[in-house]
């Protein structure tokens, strides 16, 4: 199921603000579903409605950013609930890579498991990239996992990703399931030794 992911390029979309939680990315009422299909249309729905009511436009509603592939956020993106519906909604909308200052761990783990690279940059760089996208929404943003660089409009910004996840993307092993299942003989051997599964012997 897994494929090698070494670089993503496409237009960018900024989502400004710290601590954007998963309830905002996909409100709980859209969790009443048994598949992830169709979530893309509801990404950031309540934030979008609220801005509309104030006569403003959320970037997900802004015509200039439609079709973007690289979402650029700030600190602690995706905090809160473990719902994979959040990164799934973003991915179904069309995003193929995320750039942010930091992420909640569960959100980041979900991104890796889905094959959605989510890299870290400094706060200043995240804002600079957002401004560059706003200045020229047609500019191509690239996220290069070999060079660990985010590039836009001739400028390069260093980015980070843990060694484990980076290797998983570059070797096409971000979908851990196959490997985990291959290890079942060792898993069974481990279970046979755990005190609480063996009457505390």
């Amino acid at each position: 199921m897994s494929s090698i992911i070494s670089s993503i390029s496409g237009r960018g979309i900024p989502v400004r603000g710290n601590d954007i939680d998963t309830d905002r990315i996909i409100p709980a009422r859209f969790l009443r579903c048994v598949t992830f299909d169709g979530l893309g249309a509801h990404a950031f729905e309540d934030d979008r409605l609220q801005l509309k009511a104030q006569g403003k436009l959320h970037s997900f509603d802004d015509a200039r950013f439609q079709g973007a592939k690289v979402l650029v956020a700030n600190s602690n993106f995706g905090c809160g609930s473990s719902r994979e519906h959040a990164p799934q909604a973003i991915a179904k909308w069309g995003v193929q890579a995320i750039v942010a200052v930091s992420y909640s761990e569960i959100f980041h783990g979900n991104c890796v498991a889905m094959g959605l690279p989510a890299v870290r940059v400094s706060l200043a760089d995240s804002e600079a990239i957002q401004s560059a996208i706003e200045a020229d929404p047609k500019a191509e943003v690239s996220v290069d996992l070999q060079a660990m660089q985010v590039k836009i409009a001739g400028k390069s910004f260093a980015c980070q990703l843990g060694d484990g996840p980076r290797k998983q993307f570059l070797t096409g092993q971000w979908d851990a399931l196959g490997e985990l299942v291959d290890g079942l003989p060792q898993v069974k051997a481990k279970a046979a030794k755990l005190p609480y599964l063996n009457a505390f012997a």
């Binding site: 969790l31 609930s81 994979e84 909640s104 761990e105 783990g109 490997e179 898993v187």
Partner: protein, 470 residues
């Protein structure tokens, strides 16, 4: 790097092998399942023609979408009914135990597993829910996972994980009368921030933690995730052992004694080393209430809403957003804030001791719910509900003007029919005050302890509960 902590011992005990990516393949001792984050995982298993590797190590219940008034099937909400049918079919097909409404064992997943004795010290626990951290109260390493990882656990009983750092949160001294475990964790969050714990497991320790009951410890660990820590834990001790004794899935007879020896052995050693230590003084903590849109935006009941200048510059836009969303201004005292709804329940504060604390306030105060305020109690599980009714707590709540409901998550996240309307302001014992969390996209939430929510319901405004506690 940390050494000889409970985290290190449990992690090492459960390590199956290093994966080629450098991640650890970690055995999961207990996997809890609920209806919201599991249907896609089972669908992926079917797609890949995989079986559940250890069906007896997974236990399922339903909580998020369950109505708390009319539970007749099929549910009025067709989408909720579809989700119920999906989990029933999945558990039947894959041989997984399911606690349904009416079984006497249904309830919020993080309340059910401890009360059945499923959660035990020294285990790894995973669930497709961020508040899995709750189970750390027993000295387990427990964390929330996403749906792809739910699939991984089902298929292999393991996860691909990277090790966390360990921060000790040493709470010295004792909490003052009228100050609860909820106030303690809200205070810790306020000091360490909503993202301060990213990359860490939190070990809660010290005199104030040791003095907490098992249920209070669950309240503290439950909210570790609100501080960014994927898991939080407390070393097991006599309080833990006494709680477990006699529960359905706890070891019995001679095994129980052997279990205690194992449980003691996995606690952090006296020479344990931590990546970081933070110290708190319990005696300085006041009943705490959040005023903003992140659980770390809290203040003591005697304080006012803080000026944005008291936060780092990078945080100030968030603080302004919180003022605007909540309709509050800096300098306004939190006490006296008018509320519309009072909600008592959730995996943070929906256990029997929480209901007792709230009922005690109602009795001491003597009044009834302020006209115009909607107040309701949702027990965290069917077992909690039964225990409360045996003590007559439901009569106390009803007599003082509260509604008494069936078990579930309810207005903690409002996936069932319980929802705020418009800009209503709710005072809630749950764990998240995010924008729109309680079901109205403009709804507002103040987080507090059960005692503080109880008194606010009677007074109609945020009030220091110590005025009625002797």
């Amino acid at each position: 790097m940390s050494r000889n902590t409970l985290f290190d011992k449990v992690w090492d005990l459960h390590t199956v092998r290093q994966l080629p990516s450098g991640q650890t393949q970690l055995f999961i001792g207990l996997h809890m399942i609920h209806e919201v984050t599991s249907p896609q995982a089972f669908a992926w298993l079917r797609e890949r023609k995989l079986q559940v590797a250890f069906p007896e190590r997974s236990v399922a219940t339903v909580d998020h979408i369950v109505p708390t008034e009319d539970q007749a099937r099929p549910y009025a909400d067709g989408l909720a009914e579809d989700m119920m049918q999906a989990i029933e079919r999945n558990c039947r097909e894959f041989g997984i135990r399911l606690y349904q409404p009416g079984s006497g064992k249904q309830g919020v997943v993080h309340i059910v597993a401890p009360e059945q004795g499923l959660t035990q010290p020294g285990m790894t626990v995973a669930c497709g829910d961020s508040h899995t951290a709750t189970h750390g109260a027993f000295g387990a390493i427990a964390f929330g996972i996403g749906t792809s990882q739910v699939r991984d656990v089902l298929a292999s009983q393991t996860l691909s994980m990277s090790r966390m750092k360990v921060r000790k949160i040493d709470v010295k001294g004792r909490l003052k009368p009228g100050v609860t475990a909820k106030d303690l964790i809200l205070h810790i969050l306020r000091v360490l921030s909503a993202k301060g714990g990213v990359g860490f497991a939190y070990e809660f320790a010290g005199e104030a933690i040791a003095a907490l009951s098992m249920e209070e410890r669950m309240t503290v660990c439950n909210m570790a995730i609100e501080g960014g820590a994927r898991c939080g834990y407390i070393n097991p001790d006599q309080v833990t052992f006494d709680y477990l004794k006699g529960r359905e899935f706890a070891p019995k007879g001679a095994d129980f004694d052997k279990a205690i020896a194992f449980w003691k052995s996995i606690a952090s050693s006296p020479d344990a080393e931590f990546d970081d230590v933070k110290t708190f003084d319990a005696a300085t903590i006041e009943p705490t209430v959040t005023w903003g849109i992140s659980p770390d935006q809290g203040v003591g009941i005697g304080e006012s809403i803080p000026a944005k200048e008291s936060f780092p510059v990078s945080e100030q836009p968030n603080i302004e957003e919180a003022y605007a969303y909540m309709g509050f201004t800096a300098g306004q005292p939190i006490a006296g804030t008018k509320i519309d709804v009072a909600f008592i329940g959730s995996c943070t504060n929906g256990r029997i001791s929480d209901l007792r604390a709230a009922a005690a306030v109602l009795k001491q105060h003597g009044g009834t719910v302020k006209p115009g305020v909607k107040a309701f109690v949702v027990p965290g599980s069917e077992a909690v509900k039964k225990a409360a009714e045996a003590e007559g707590l439901h009569e106390v709540f009803k007599k003082h003007g509260f509604e008494w409901r069936e078990a579930g998550c309810s207005m903690c996240l409002a996936m069932n029919p319980d929802k705020l309307k418009g800009k209503q302001l709710s005072m809630s014992t749950s764990n998240r005050n995010f924008k729109g969390r309680q079901g109205s996209p403009e709804g507002r939430t103040l987080l507090a302890s059960p005692a503080m929510v109880a008194i606010a319901a009677l007074e109609g405004v945020v009030t220091d509960v110590r005025k009625v506690l002797k």
